[in-house]
């Protein structure tokens, strides 16, 4: 074709015009830290395992999960899931039911008998773990996977620690506990029961251990002075719950009063109900808002007929009855006595006022620092005594199972580093993917899935598990509700919205790249990225 000069032009010739030169800021693809991962006390890569779960690859999901936490079935039941509290999805509709999916994976693993991979090589080092609670088990698991020979010395007759002696069956069926403990032991971890360590240094020398992780927990119930006649039965919550694991169940009578406001108080009250108590009354000095116990547990307890006397303290316990004094909150919100009294019928009083740690095994170990009844540890979980690490309830902490598991993992990694004579340095964390970094418009409404709960009659009479699990379909649905905060999920938005066609699609699984020859730096891709995986950075000029 003979084209008139200048008036008629060859197709697509504008490629010669590199409009990228107009740019003063440029978009770059980033990975940001999802809030769920950021808040998980056990340091789980939640978004990572949800990804495999929503693709239906539950085993892969479970394996990714257990890289950080060996107890998903337990976590899926007892964890207070701060992850869900942080989940950005709550700004779209409701938080992703991470905990329920975790439980589904845990249960799947048990059902299908998935095992952990044994370590490739042995390190030749021996590590002593004292206490088979969540922290100890977690440490043992991680140490074992790192190739160390691990021996757990447990004072009690069973493994599990507070998971067994503190958490009632109806929240954590024992077979679940057993299964997850057994799986850890299959890694070659040696568990010695009824093996109370009296002197840590002696035990270490005797066993030729290179390092020790102490996680003895806090099992000594705090007492409070209550004037009482001999006839009155006063027991502590820990022993009540512990005795639930033994042959003869505790005899608390028809009317049980529980003193305290923590989760343990709730556990005992609900246990008492199930043991047949007609009245199970919690006496707590403050209001419900102030109560440390988790609200959903209080709610469940009330549903089950547990009663609560708010703003009350026990003044004295007499023959079949107790006297309580009404309290009033002062302007600072502290309860003050009012001088008003009331009597309650009570066959027994259970004190749920918190627990202390039995530190006897540390007697005479130099360098240790003990404060407020707990052992102080460095950021690497090591005590003042080289080679002796500690975690769980015996160190300053929130005293939850998840925190304990986190301690175990953290300690294990540092112990491993310490054993190899180098300091373990965790990978630097990405910037947080807060909701302000997301564009939630692109997420369709998908209300979260409610887990089934046991009917009230059976909850009051039996120790059957109260909360059910998800089935495959709704577990996957729940997993798919994940927004993939901070990490590209290849939605094509950036590719789609670029007015300059300067986004290159690298193909499924390969994400995208910018063609900076033509990108003018308008930032539309950043504004329209649903998950906040692109950010603008100034050009060096």
């Amino acid at each position: 074709m003979d084209k008139p000069f200048a008036i008629t032009l060859d197709p697509g010739s504008s490629l010669a015009n590199h409009t990228g030169s107009w740019r003063t800021v440029k978009p770059v693809y980033v990975d940001r830290l999802p809030p769920c991962n950021a808040t998980c006390p056990a340091g789980e890569n939640i978004q990572g395992w949800l990804f495999h779960a929503e693709s239906g690859d539950y085993e892969k999901a479970w394996r990714v999960l257990t890289e950080n936490n060996p107890l998903p079935a337990i976590m899926g039941r007892v964890c207070y899931h701060p992850c869900e509290g942080a989940c950005n999805r709550q700004h779209v509709d409701a938080a992703v039911g991470i905990n329920s999916v975790e439980r589904f994976l845990g249960d799947e693993a048990i059902k299908r008998g998935w095992k952990f991979e044994k370590p490739a090589a042995k390190s030749g080092k021996r590590v002593l773990v004292v206490g088979a609670g969540p922290s100890g088990l977690s440490a043992a698991y991680h140490l074992a996977r790192l190739g160390h020979a691990v021996e757990i010395h447990e004072a009690g007759p069973f493994a599990g620690g507070m998971m067994r002696f503190g958490i009632p069956k109806y929240r954590l069926p024992r077979e679940v506990l057993e299964a997850e403990v057994a799986r850890i032991l299959e890694l070659g971890v040696v568990l010695k029961l009824d093996a109370k360590v009296a002197d840590i240094r002696a035990t270490m020398t005797a066993g030729g251990f290179d390092a020790a992780f102490l996680a003895v927990g806090a099992h000594i119930g705090k007492r409070a002075y209550i004037p009482a006649g001999d006839a009155t039965k006063i027991v502590d919550a820990v022993s009540v719950l512990r005795s639930m694991e033994g042959e003869d169940k505790p005899l608390l009578g028809r009317r049980v009063v529980i003193y305290g406001g923590g989760n343990t108080a709730i556990d005992v009250a609900r246990t008492a109900k199930r043991l047949g108590a007609e009245e199970s009354i919690i006496v707590y000095r403050r209001t419900r808002e102030k109560m440390p116990a988790h609200d959903f547990e209080v709610e469940e307890a009330l549903q089950e007929g547990v009663m609560v006397k708010w703003l009350s303290t026990i003044k004295q316990a007499g023959e079949g009855e107790i006297t309580i004094e009404k309290m009033a909150l002062d302007e600072k919100g502290f309860p003050q006595p009012t001088g008003e009294f009331e009597t309650l019928a009570a066959d027994s009083v259970v004190l749920a006022l918190g627990q202390d740690v039995d530190l006897s095994l540390l007697d005479g170990v130099p360098g240790l620092e003990i404060k407020d009844g707990v052992v102080q540890v460095a950021p690497n979980m090591m005590t003042g005594h080289a080679g002796i690490f500690a975690g769980g309830d015996m160190v300053p902490s929130e005293r939850t199972v998840t925190v304990a598991v986190g301690h175990g993992k953290k300690a294990a990694r540092h112990i491993d580093g310490w054993l190899r004579g180098e300091a373990y340095a965790p990978a630097p964390k990405h910037e947080l993917a807060g909701i302000e970094k997301l564009n939630p418009w692109y997420y369709s409404e998908a209300p979260h899935t409610v887990r089934p709960t046991l009917d009230i009659i059976r909850r009051q009479s039996t120790f059957d598990e109260v909360q059910g699990g998800l089935d495959e379909s709704n577990a996957q649905f729940e997993a798919r509700r994940c927004l993939s905060c901070g990490n590209c999920f290849e939605c094509d938005n950036c590719y789609g919205v670029c007015p300059d066609n300067a986004v290159i699609k690298l193909g499924p699984g390969k994400r995208f790249a910018f063609n900076y020859d033509y990108c003018k730096g308008c930032g539309v891709c950043v504004a329209e990225c649903p998950c906040g995986a692109i950010k603008m950075v100034p050009e060096e000029i």
């Binding site: 074709m1 084209k3 008139p4 000069f5 200048a6 008036i7 008629t8 032009l9 060859d10």
Partner: protein, 417 residues
């Protein structure tokens, strides 16, 4: 085949013989009979492979033509007067894009005051539009020029305007020789566009061109138009070979070789002038005629060649460059630059005013005596004009001119002039 028919009909037949593929038009007197004829031929199926589009304005007419021509279809339209002005923007665009559209302009005056009768103001207003402009003297020539126009347009890839006097030719019944389809096919090959919109070879037509190249683009448009000056005589010769008729060309002389006084004109008035010249020759006057067929590009050398021996040149034109005088005359003067020849401008026949032999006789005789003003308005009703001028001088609010004049002219207007 010889026929006694209306000029518009003759042109319609000629256009049909050229196998146009798209015809679009908007009605305006005196162009209507041409497109009515073509519309009927398309509807009846007499003219095949042709789309006839009734558009909503002349602007749209030329725009549709631009689209179809750019897509490689042989395209025709027709207009006149106000219509030509209304499409002016697209007229320039068509030539700028180099699209070989053929358009008939049935020459008519431009208002206000509105006037449907013949003069050349409309076509000449577009003289710089980049279109080639041909002026027909007779209906036979109008017919012939359309056939040549398509050939010319498509060879040069430039649009061509064929101008014929409104009513005087378009509505005149006279004898024409209508060629056969075989003759036309032999003369006019199928349209092969230089550039075409086709997914097979995508191009962008109509780019924005800045100062860095615009001068060149315009120069090329000029150079391309100038090529027509060489091509047209060749096409006219070829035309004669096929049709056996002298038609078209650049310009034509009549008794000019030995003439002291040469009358220059365009279009149908040449016939009347020739009759006058014959009578004057018979009476021993050395007068001759130069008829300009091609006004754009202006055949500057041929005009000079034809006129350089004359003592004086009288340019009689149906147009007025208000504030200057003649349009054609200005062009002729340029052709005669540096020659010692008087060029008189005579503005005649505006808005359909008849140009009579009687007036021409008087005019030419005055010219021979060099007794003409540089710019003369033929048969101007002085009395009426002076009256109005006086009126305007007397009072500012002298009222609408046209209405005043009609009142002055009075009943005469109702009579035939």
């Amino acid at each position: 085949m010889l026929k006694q028919c209306e000029g518009s009909h003759a042109v319609a037949e000629a256009v049909a013989l050229c196998r146009p593929e798209v015809i679009c038009a908007y009605p305006i007197s005196p162009q209507t009979h041409i497109v009515e004829g073509l519309g009927e031929m398309v509807k009846s199926g007499e003219l095949k492979n042709c789309e006839f589009i009734n558009v909503e304005s002349e602007f749209a007419a030329m725009s549709v033509a631009i689209g179809s021509s750019a897509t490689g279809a042989r395209t025709y339209t027709a207009t006149a007067s106000q219509g030509l002005l209304f499409m002016a923007e697209a007229v320039y665009n068509a030539s700028g894009l180099g699209l070989p559209i053929v358009m008939t302009v049935a020459n008519r005056a431009i208002g206000a005051p509105i006037n449907i009768w013949n003069d050349h103001t409309d076509a000449l207003s577009q003289r710089d539009s980049g279109w080639l402009q041909l002026f027909a003297e007779t209906n036979q020539e109008a017919l012939d020029l359309h056939i040549q126009a398509f050939r010319l347009a498509e060879e040069l890839s430039l649009p061509v305007m064929v101008c014929m006097d409104g009513f005087i030719l378009t509505h005149a019944y006279e004898r024409v020789d209508v060629p056969t389809q075989e003759q036309v096919d032999a003369y006019l090959p199928p349209y092969e566009p230089r550039q075409v919109l086709d997914p097979k070879e995508p191009v962008s037509i109509g780019a924005m061109v800045g100062p860095e190249a615009f001068m060149e683009v315009r120069y090329l448009a000029h150079a391309k138009q100038m090529q027509a000056l060489e091509r047209i005589p060749a096409y006219a010769a070829e035309f004669k070979a096929v049709f056996g008729r002298d038609s078209g060309g650049l310009c034509h002389t009549y008794h000019a070789d030995d003439a002291d006084t040469i009358i220059v004109a365009m279009g149908s008035v040449l016939g009347t002038i020739k009759d006058v010249v014959d009578e004057m020759r018979a009476a021993g006057h050395k007068v001759g005629v130069l008829g300009i067929t091609l006004f754009r590009p202006f055949p500057i050398h041929d005009v000079r060649e034809a006129l350089h021996r004359a003592k004086r040149v009288v340019v009689l034109e149906k147009s007025l460059a208000v504030g200057l005088g003649g349009i054609v005359a200005t062009n002729v003067r340029m052709a005669l630059s540096a020659l010692p020849i008087d060029v008189y401008t005579v503005v005649a026949g505006l808005g359909g005013r008849p140009i009579t032999m009687r007036s021409l006789h008087a005019l030419f005789r005055k010219a021979e005596k060099d007794d003409l003003d540089p710019v003369t308005f033929l048969d101007l009703n002085r009395a009426v004009v002076d009256k109005q001028l006086a009126r305007e001088k007397a009072t500012r609010r002298s009222g609408p001119i046209a209405e005043n004049l009609l009142r002055d002219v009075g009943v005469v207007a109702a009579k035939i002039a």
